[in-house]
């Protein structure tokens, strides 16, 4: 085996002068990188090689490795480095989700964290996760194959996640006879492609992970290559400190430290810039200004803190500031907005439902957000834009999002901490998507809420009633419309001003453009909610009869209304009972497959967990049910 001089293996200093060694090593920096490629490209072999060459392999592991190499390795009698980092196959068979495995090694100059994303399956989701924390990407190419579709995909994702340093590792040079022409051709091809997707700079290196060429030092097999070898490049590539610190100071407040009445510290990780006592700062979104008093630390107060550090600072004024707010340089405050265009990577089995409310976590703040129908989906292999109404697992798309309040932010391209977010499903709590803010939409800022002189209280007062929404939910055929009708008639006799919104009727007009897919059902309910809300502003008692099968949407409508004005009435009829009634003949159609997405048959109904009222229609008549609702409505 043509192993390079093991210059990274042992350090004479360790044995001779450990104190001095420790002193040197305390000044090491850290680089996080991701390797992109499949097993066929020799990715595992390369990572194993790096671990081996930097002496991260112990004797017992090496003994195991040698034995394993003979038994199941693919390299004959030679050591199969891939076995060091594989071992994920078995786990995959067990169905364990592995998104990223992290490996560690260190040299004299740096500590490295390698994000290793296995396999082809779930590749987008995994690679995006691994790339989100990486400073550098090593894109592996098999010299025999050149630039493939997957190279384009990897490069696009690297660019999308904002990784600034790219290494093009042309691997398996030993299998093409260390031919310079092969290398040059690949570099030329990649140069053209990189420019297309906006990668401005990259470092091409001809290597052999298996043989060790140009890994730790120049290989005699490639005398024509006078560039840098891989490990020395990783050791010397510029780390992000100067770029991160060059921007204005920003810190997302993570936790307010209040051990006693005399101390109020704001803890957080500095997202950009530097800060010193005496600096003027502005708290966003409130806009209040103050001055940094102290940077407090266990080892004593500090006179400087920089991007990347977790700190605690105090201000000279007692101003409101809590978790989620951003302390920013006074002269360069952040933008604040509640609508954005963003690029979204979908990561959940359950597809995106435009219009549904998700939690959005950005920095230390969590807000409620809805995602509009995507403007387009991106084909990750070709970067073509495709029309799409939703995003499935591993899909990437561009869509507008609307938040329930304004947040301070920066475009992702400027700052990962201030522009990167995740979406969380409100029911399952899964992390369903990763997103990157492209820019704020001006729309929201220009449409101000018009304060009307005659307010909702006035409307209600004139009608001598308290507005409300009586929301009947339940299976088709459960008796919602029948009960709703009786309720309205009874209220009319009581001189109450009402309006009945019926599912079928609304679909003839306002919502006639909507079908019965999950996404359309979400939008159907959202519109009905908005209409009901306007009617309560007008002082009306609104009665609605909609299947409204999803808990999220019912909760969303509840959230739109004023507290206490939303009554969720669960019209509880067992499926077999509803099906036996089948007033409109719909169940029969659904059972025979003529009708798709029918609630209770091939589309789920999520029962209310804490409705204001539950009506068991097997135990009471519609008349009795209506009386019960009115008793709850007008005590």
């Amino acid at each position: 085996m043509n192993t390079q001089d093991p210059i990274y293996k042992t350090d004479a200093l360790i044995a001779e002068n450990i104190e001095q060694y420790l002193e040197t090593h305390q000044h090491k920096t850290m680089l996080r990188f991701i390797t992109c490629g499949s097993v066929d490209d020799g990715k595992s072999t390369l990572i194993g090689r790096l671990l081996y060459d930097s002496k991260m392999i112990f004797e017992d592991q090496l003994a195991t490795l040698e034995a394993d190499s003979k038994r199941s390795g693919t390299q004959g009698e030679e050591i199969d480095f891939a076995l060091l980092v594989d071992g994920l196959a078995a786990e995959r068979e067990q169905g364990i989700t592995i998104d990223v495995a992290y490996r560690f090694f260190t040299t004299e100059k740096r500590k490295f964290i390698v994000a290793d994303t296995p396999g082809h399956e779930q590749y987008t989701r995994n690679m995006v996760t691994g790339a989100s924390t990486a400073d550098l990407a090593v894109i592996l190419i098999d010299a025999r194959k050149g630039i493939l579709t997957q190279t384009r995909r990897h490069s696009y994702l690297v660019k999308l996640l904002g990784i600034r340093h790219v290494v093009l590792a042309v691997n398996k040079m030993d299998l093409v006879g260390y031919d310079q022409a092969v290398f040059d051709k690949i570099v030329a091809d990649y140069t053209a492609f990189a420019a297309e997707i906006g990668i401005e700079e990259f470092t091409p290196i001809p290597i052999s992970g298996f043989k060790g060429d140009n890994i730790t030092g120049p290989s005699e097999n490639t005398p024509w290559y006078d560039g840098v070898s891989l490990l020395p490049h990783l050791e010397t590539v510029e780390v992000e400190d100067s770029r991160e610190q060059a921007g204005p100071f920003r810190m997302q407040v993570q936790w307010v430290n209040r051990p006693n009445l005399d101390f109020r510290g704001f803890a957080g990780l500095v997202a950009s810039g530097q800060v010193r006592p005496g600096d003027e700062v502005r708290v966003l979104p409130s806009g209040k200004t103050s001055t940094v008093a102290r940077i407090v630390a266990l080892e004593g107060d500090r006179d400087l803190a920089v991007a990347g550090e977790s700190i605690t600072l105090t201000l000279t004024d007692e101003i409101d500031c809590s978790r989620g707010q951003v302390i920013s340089a006074a002269q360069a405050p952040l933008e604040v907005a509640d609508q954005f265009e963003s690029t979204i990577v979908w990561m959940d089995e359950q597809e995106l439902l435009p219009g549904r409310a998700y939690w959005l976590k950005i920095g230390t703040q969590t807000v409620s957000a809805t995602v509009a129908e995507p403007k387009y989906e991106v084909n990750v292999n070709t970067q073509e834009h495709l029309a799409s109404k939703t995003l499935d697992l591993n899909a990437i798309g561009v869509a507008n999002i609307t938040l329930d309040r304004e947040i301070p932010f920066a475009p992702y391209a400027e700052n990962r901490d201030l522009g990167g977010f995740i979406l969380i499903d409100k029911i399952t709590n899964h992390t369903v998507a990763a997103g990157m803010i492209n820019f704020a939409l001006r729309r929201a800022q220009n449409i101000h809420w018009q304060a009307t002189d005659i307010g909702r209280d006035h409307h209600a007062h004139m009608k001598h009633q308290k507005p409300a929404v009586v929301w009947l939910t339940g299976l088709s055929g459960s008796g919602k419309s029948t009960i709703a009708n009786i309720v309205e008639k009874k209220l009319a006799r009581m001189n109450r001003h009402t309006f009945l919104l019926d599912g079928d009727n609304v679909r003839h007009g306002l919502n006639k453009d909507l079908g019965f897919t999950e996404a359309d059902r979400v939008e159907n309910i959202r519109r009905v909610g908005e209409v009901a809300k306007l009617m309560t502003d007008a002082g009306l008692i609104v009665i609605t009869a909609f299947i409204s099968p999803f808990r999220s949407e019912r909760d969303m409508v509840r959230g739109m209304m004023h507290p206490g004005e939303f009554l969720e009435i669960f019209v509880d009829t067992p499926l077999d009972v509803a099906e036996s009634r089948d007033v409109k003949g719909l169940y029969a159609k659904a059972r025979s497959g003529q009708l798709k997405n029918f609630t209770g048959i091939d589309s789920p109904y999520e029962h209310p967990e804490a409705p204001e009222l539950r009506i068991d229609t097997t135990e009471m008549t519609p008349e009795e049910a209506a009386d019960l609702i009115i008793a709850r409505l007008i005590p």
């Binding site: 786990e91 998104d99 992290y102 560690f104 290793d116 530097q274 977790s310 230390t364």
Partner: protein, 300 residues
């Protein structure tokens, strides 16, 4: 403007503190599992830094097997007092009653005292988030472990249902009854831990340093006879100059012969040594992929 270059230890420290604070901000009732080892010592030190000048706003929990080294119990009590934190010690009463011990009960010992003990303690106090000192570099199985590891209401680790972790964003939301194990020092290596202890002057159990100790050799492991519960089958304990690379129950923890009496010497030995860290622990020899299995059952 001049920029200040952050070292790897400063980066790791900032990340760990960020994680600790994030859990305190989002969990209702967090706790720190404290095992008295070097990793626990670093984690506790990071917690002191994260919340200074307040003491860390959660208690320390030691799930005790009653078989730890005497010196560990001593440092445990002192460390909690120094940090101004409440120390909760939990011993599984069933294991206590049945006299479960590492000599007679093999794997059951770990199972009852540690795995079951931990579940019982978390349930008893209703903790919804527990910090643990596991590191990803300890072995292959941990390389892919997430920082936030979710557990069902009955403490099962569901490997098919773990959440992707992007940037510095951790999704800590959970349903009632569910809990999360959080590993703030996931990205530290053994060398990082030692260097940090050295740099910050963190107090660790003296067992990490070499001293003459009474030992016997069993199944290739050098075991220390720490108290008179150690059944000697006619063996005569021999004084050997030894130290420990990891600490656990004394009858299960193998020592290494060593002359390293200072921290730099320990680090030197570690760097020049040629066997990986967990070799000294009997627990991992039991079966291949044993850690994976134990984790699913709720062991850390």
């Amino acid at each position: 403007m001049d920029s200040k270059t952050l070292t790897h230890l400063q980066r790791l420290e900032a990340e760990s503190i960020h994680i600790l604070r994030e859990v305190v901000a989002e969990a209702e009732n967090p706790v720190m599992l404290y095992s008295v080892g070097k990793d626990s010592a670093v984690m506790l030190h990071l917690a002191k830094k994260a919340f200074y000048p307040a003491p860390p706003p959660f208690p320390l929990l030691h799930v005790d097997t009653t078989w730890k080294f005497q010196e560990m119990y001593k440092l445990r009590d002192k460390a909690a007092k120094d940090a101004g934190m409440e120390l909760l010690v939990y011993q599984n009463p069933e294991a206590q009653e049945r006299g479960i011990n590492p000599f007679d009960h093999g794997g059951l010992h770990t199972d009852m005292w540690k795995t079951e003990g931990l579940k019982q303690a978390l349930d008893k106090y209703g903790f919804d988030a527990a910090f643990g000192g596991a590191r990803r570099d300890e072995e292959k199985a941990r390389a892919k472990e997430r920082v936030f590891s979710f557990r069902s209401a009955n403490h099962r680790w569901d490997p098919k249902n773990q959440r992707p972790e992007l940037w510095r964003l951790y999704n800590a939301r959970k349903a009632k009854g569910e809990s999360v194990r959080v590993f703030p020092i996931s990205n530290w290596t053994e060398l990082d831990i030692w260097q940090y202890i050295h740099l910050e002057g963190i107090e660790i159990v003296p067992l990490y340093f070499s001293a003459p100790r009474p030992t016997v050799v069993r199944d290739g492991l050098i075991l220390m006879v720490d108290d008179d519960r150690f059944p000697l089958n006619g063996e005569e304990p021999v004084m050997r100059s030894v130290r420990f690379r990891t600490l656990g129950c004394y009858p299960l923890t193998g020592a290494v012969e060593s002359e390293a009496k200072t921290l730099p010497e320990v680090i030197q030995e570690m760097l020049l040594t040629t066997t990986s860290e967990r070799q000294g622990r009997a627990i991992d020899h039991d079966q291949a992929a044993s850690m994976e299995k134990k984790k699913q059952e709720g062991y850390f």
